[in-house]
Point group: C2
Chain length 483, copies 2
């Protein structure tokens, strides 16, 4: 079966534009009582501002949400580019046959209980789906997936996603995780070009999506969550090719025994061994990550950090133990924390209040004080960034420790103003760390600061670990690209 899927995909390399920009969408299995307040496919698309024609398909309704409803897709009196199928698994094959007869461009099978069921019946049902579309002009996405989010095409599978388009594309065998991470990404300034949750990959699989995204002008970075691929060779070639154009970040699920077993009850795709994947990452120079949280940090770093010329980092923030541990964290992540040049030290020593008695070292101790940001903060940042040994600057602010001293959040707003202005004026990349708070008051400061930094194009993180690890992988990626 896998072989057939693979060869099916290979013979069908064609334009996927209907996947992202359909001019008409049918929702097969639209609920008769769907309302704008309920969370159904029609309501989601309408609220999200989809501008094409929408056709509800339901044999027991004539109108749904003010739209004319049809008993079957065969009855729709116009061309249908895209069909969303949300009916019970055993009904999907019949519906798919009707879609093929109607020459629907792409059918998105939301329904699960195919190969993901883990039983033979489900596998046979999925096999039937691929057989139905073979040789037809109809492509299949899924089954068992949430489908497409493409702000510029007006498509979404969740109304918590932003209408703002960006440059991150995501190719994912899971959808629920995207519902969790995309709002977190938006809050840090990351928006998407095209996102595809493709589930069991019975037809359209990751290689074809990556081949498309390699040439998609709207996409500058690709994140992939992969459980398995039917055609490993094509996947490797697609990743290598895409990765030459733009960075590809891959979270490979199932690299451990426990994870591989879990995949059997998710998408049931071919997993591959850790050994094979290690060679894969070496060969493709794709960026390997281990979790969805790391995925967020990595795309923030790729989007907002200009590639540092090397691993030397100059650290700014609270000194003392926090500074020592931050230096350790950076070096453990692969960065280097160099001693500053004598010129930089002399410049920094001119900053009043910075270096009373103490030698100025890296980390440079300056940050938020009891009355707001350290006066020489912007100057200090410029001096540090001007050091020839420093290729990357890491700034740390821990607002919550100072909430108790502050008159409201004014000082924090001012500090963020200064930070944003200064970082934007520097030639060198700056990773900004703003720590999380312990209560609503401090957390509000942090979330607001993260949002403001993200919206202004600053790479913002919640911990120095996250910043250092993501920055190191950016450096490694660009170094390997050159070699």
């Amino acid at each position: 079966m896998k072989q057939e899927i693979a060869s099916g995909a290979q013979t069908q390399v064609r334009d996927l534009s209907k996947l992202f920009y359909p001019e008409s969408i049918a929702v097969i299995g639209a609920s008769a009582d769907e309302s704008p307040r309920s969370d159904g496919w029609l309501g989601r698309l309408q609220r999200f501002g989809y501008r094409g024609r929408l056709y509800p398909i339901n044999p027991r309704a004539t109108q749904i949400m003010g739209l004319r409803s049809y008993p079957s897709i065969a009855d729709v009196p116009a061309r249908v580019d895209y069909a969303i199928v949300a009916v019970r698994a055993e009904l999907v094959a019949g519906v798919l046959r009707e879609c093929v007869s109607k020459d629907v461009g792409v059918v998105h099978v939301f329904s699960g209980d195919f190969a993901d069921s883990g039983n033979e019946q489900g596998q046979l049902l999925q096999h039937e789906l691929t057989a139905i579309i073979r040789g037809s002009g109809t492509r299949l996405i899924g089954p068992n997936c949430l489908g497409v989010y493409c702000p510029s095409g007006g498509l979404t599978f969740n109304h918590g996603f932003s209408k703002q388009a960006g440059s991150l594309a995501i190719v994912s065998q899971t959808g629920a995780a995207l519902i969790r991470i995309l709002p977190l990404a938006h809050a840090r300034g990351i928006y998407c070009s095209k996102v595809v949750s493709y589930g069991n990959a019975a037809d359209i699989d990751s290689p074809e999506l990556l081949e498309y995204l390699a040439h998609d002008a709207d996409t500058r970075c690709v994140l992939a969550y992969i459980e398995g691929v039917a055609d490993g060779r094509r996947f490797l070639d697609a990743v290598a090719k895409c990765n030459r154009e733009k960075p590809v970040v891959i979270l490979k699920g199932g690299l451990t025994g426990g994870g591989a077993r879990a995949i059997m009850s998710h998408t049931a795709t071919l997993v591959g061994t850790g050994h094979v994947w290690k060679a894969f990452f070496k060969k493709t120079n794709a960026i390997a990550i281990d979790s969805f949280d790391e995925a967020l940090n990595q795309v923030v770093a790729l989007q907002f950090l200009r590639p540092p010329a090397g691993p030397n980092v100059g650290i700014v923030g609270l000194g003392g133990g926090l500074g020592v541990v931050t230096a350790d964290i950076c070096e453990k992540a692969g960065l280097h924390v160099p001693a500053l040049s004598a010129d930089t030290v002399r410049s920094l020593q001119t900053l009043k209040g910075l270096a009373v008695g103490r030698g100025v070292r890296n980390p440079v101790e300056m940050g938020l004080g009891k009355t707001g940001l350290f006066k020489g903060f912007a100057d200090g940042l410029r001096m540090l960034a001007a050091d020839a040994k420093v290729y990357l600057v890491m700034v740390q602010l821990y607002p919550e420790g100072y909430v108790q001293h502050w008159s409201g959040s004014r000082q924090m707003e001012e500090a963020i103003d200064i930070l944003i202005d200064t970082v934007k004026s520097l030639q060198k990349p700056v990773a900004t760390v703003i720590g999380l708070g312990h209560d609503m008051e401090s957390m509000a400061l942090t979330l607001n600061a993260h949002q403001r930094c993200g919206a202004s194009g600053l790479a913002v993180f919640a911990t120095p670990e996250a910043a250092a690890q993501a920055a190191f992988k950016v450096i490694e990626y660009y170094a390997n690209q050159k070699s």
Copy 2:
């Protein structure tokens, strides 16, 4: 110099109770215009509820905050157990001589610019301090430190710290980091017995503190942030001894070149090489961690997770890719995600809505749905925990993804009620993961859930990585204790 400090400490093994329970405190360098609203030492202690006698020392004041002020400590007409010194570095030696004459029990030198200055003058000044107390009945804490937080003794160095006493002791060469992490710890149900920020360690050093804490009945777990120690042998013995009584978690600063350089401008203590510290951790079975964030997670796990009998974890939460990646994360951290026994699978399959068509696997897919917690959640948790192959349960909830569906926070409150009741009733340890939110609404749910879980004695974490890594180290610790 270091040799002298070491031998000084060794000859002065005596009761440290005055460090934590002084009956009278003098504040030398109390600001004449200190008010209850300003953030000075006197105000902090008064607000915190210190019940002993307080003596402001200031040559230019007769009364501060309603307290009789004295020109010098020599003028105080009663015994002084504890003196806080907050004057310029060059004045400290004179003040310390007066304290020795007055036979003050412990002198806490808050002032910096001693060995931490990185210059010879500072080193000489610090050397002078140790010389002054040698052979006297006066002990010195610091210089360059924040001193003591001991809720049961009414002492604090920050008014953001809780008055509630707990069982975590902290021994730290940094103070600023504690101001950051203690409120985060309180928010997760962790409270302290005794916390000491001891800075440059000119007299009282970590070994002596650990020896004391080993026998302190109020302390059940010790966290140490160490930059260096003067007497490595005594430190090793103290850690090994303390660690036999209660777990000792150590964040060693300066294990990298960059971190070691940073220590020179912090406490300037002897750092030691990575090689030596690796052997140290092997020999003592102390728990090594890499950051202050990890410190929090580790103490939460030690305080609230009953020691699991082995590394097998049963995972509950959203399935799909999040489940796969969680299984991978657990196994990468050293845990094992076993297949569940046939009996457990059969029991779980009886839960309505849980296993429609899909095989029940580990992770078990159940959690928060659109209308609150999955109906069979409590039963499912009990069934999973009853599996003989499962020694530890990890529960994941991601409230923020569901905020959009909910009528306020009622469902989350109900879910947490059920979670707390069920976890408390189980014989096996449960690590609870409640993810962070992307905006104030979802973050409020998360913070509230964390606080409620922590207050109810549940081990709560923000990510599966944090939970898995901390849980694995707990398992490893207790396994090594037995062997």
